[in-house]
């Protein structure tokens, strides 16, 4: 029987890197094509009582239409196609952290029209305002890591 190419030492590692890079590129292209990288469009989507632009609902519909089947087929298999372990979220708990975190995230998203993906995908193309947002976002993420390590959360 032929040996899978990724069974050769070192090849698996490289394939993981290439596939992750490709997934990042496709994700970013999807955000750009879909209109998510323009905060004006995101805010117009969130402005339900104003001049509402429902376009971004179609981004969700398109993404979920594919992902739904991807996750279903992944759950049926013992490992991924490269033989790696599935890393599913460890909890199904609906607790205070989840709700307060989502509330704070929603506040920030509504203030600027940026969420993490589109912000990172705009770093090299959209100027210094994006840098300001992304650096603040990294500080916020680091603040969470620090607060967790200090036992505050």
């Amino acid at each position: 029987m032929a040996v899978a190419p990724w069974a050769v030492p070192g090849v698996l590692k490289r394939m993981v890197i290439v596939i992750a890079w490709l997934a990042g590129v496709l994700f970013g292209l999807g955000l750009i094509v879909g209109g998510m990288t323009n905060p004006a469009k995101v805010l117009a989507f969130l402005d339900i009582t104003g001049d509402w632009d429902p376009s971004l609902a179609f981004v969700m519909i398109g993404a979920i239409a594919v992902s739904f089947f991807a996750f279903r087929s992944a759950a049926k298999q013992p490992t991924s196609l490269l033989g790696l372990q599935l890393q599913m979220p460890p909890t199904t708990l609906i607790d205070r952290r989840l709700v307060i975190g989502a509330l704070l995230f929603g506040m920030g998203w509504g203030l600027a029209g940026f969420c993490p993906g589109p912000a990172v995908a705009s770093i090299l193309s959209a100027g210094s305002a994006v840098w300001l947002f992304v650096i603040s976002m990294l500080v916020g993420m680091f603040g969470h890591t620090l607060a967790t390590r200090l036992g505050w959360l």
Partner: protein, 142 residues
């Protein structure tokens, strides 16, 4: 007011779906961007490579797009101080809530996770409320 673009938005969504398919089906990982970015440094060394590769791909995507067509307009009307506050809230909140629009909104809903549904409804509702407060409610002009 931005134009209604259902077709291109649907195509964009399908591309994102292919990305999440690559991540879960080939690598066994969730394409949750706040988690990938937030654990870039704190992850174990062996768990860092794919995170950096994904983020690098995300960062160069506009350069690749620009090879084929001019990039769509990016209109940021938010003032610098508000951008800083928004960034801090997005960063801290997405980590505390274990996910953002990608992790909970796309991957979580696709897995039919009730936890992700609660998170998604919460951040969508909150964001819509903030936009209403700033555009039509008592905080107009801020």
């Amino acid at each position: 007011m931005t134009p209604f673009t259902p077709i291109s938005s649907l195509i964009g969504g399908l591309l994102i779906g292919v990305s999440t398919w690559l991540m879960i089906r080939w690598l066994g990982k969730i394409a949750g961007i706040s988690g990938i970015v937030g654990q870039l440094w704190s992850a174990r060394h062996s768990d860092r490579g794919w995170r950096f590769a994904f983020v690098a791909g995300l960062m160069v995507s506009p350069l690749i797009y620009a090879l084929a067509a001019p990039l769509p307009a990016v209109v940021i009307a938010t003032s610098p101080p508000v951008l800083i506050v928004a960034g801090l809230l997005v960063g801290f909140g997405s980590r505390l809530g274990s996910g953002c629009t990608s992790g909970h909104g796309v991957c979580g809903l696709s897995r039919l996770s009730l936890r992700s549904l609660v998170a998604t409804l919460t951040f969508m509702g909150t964001a819509a409320l903030v936009v209403w407060l700033l555009r039509h409610g008592p905080f107009q002009g801020y």
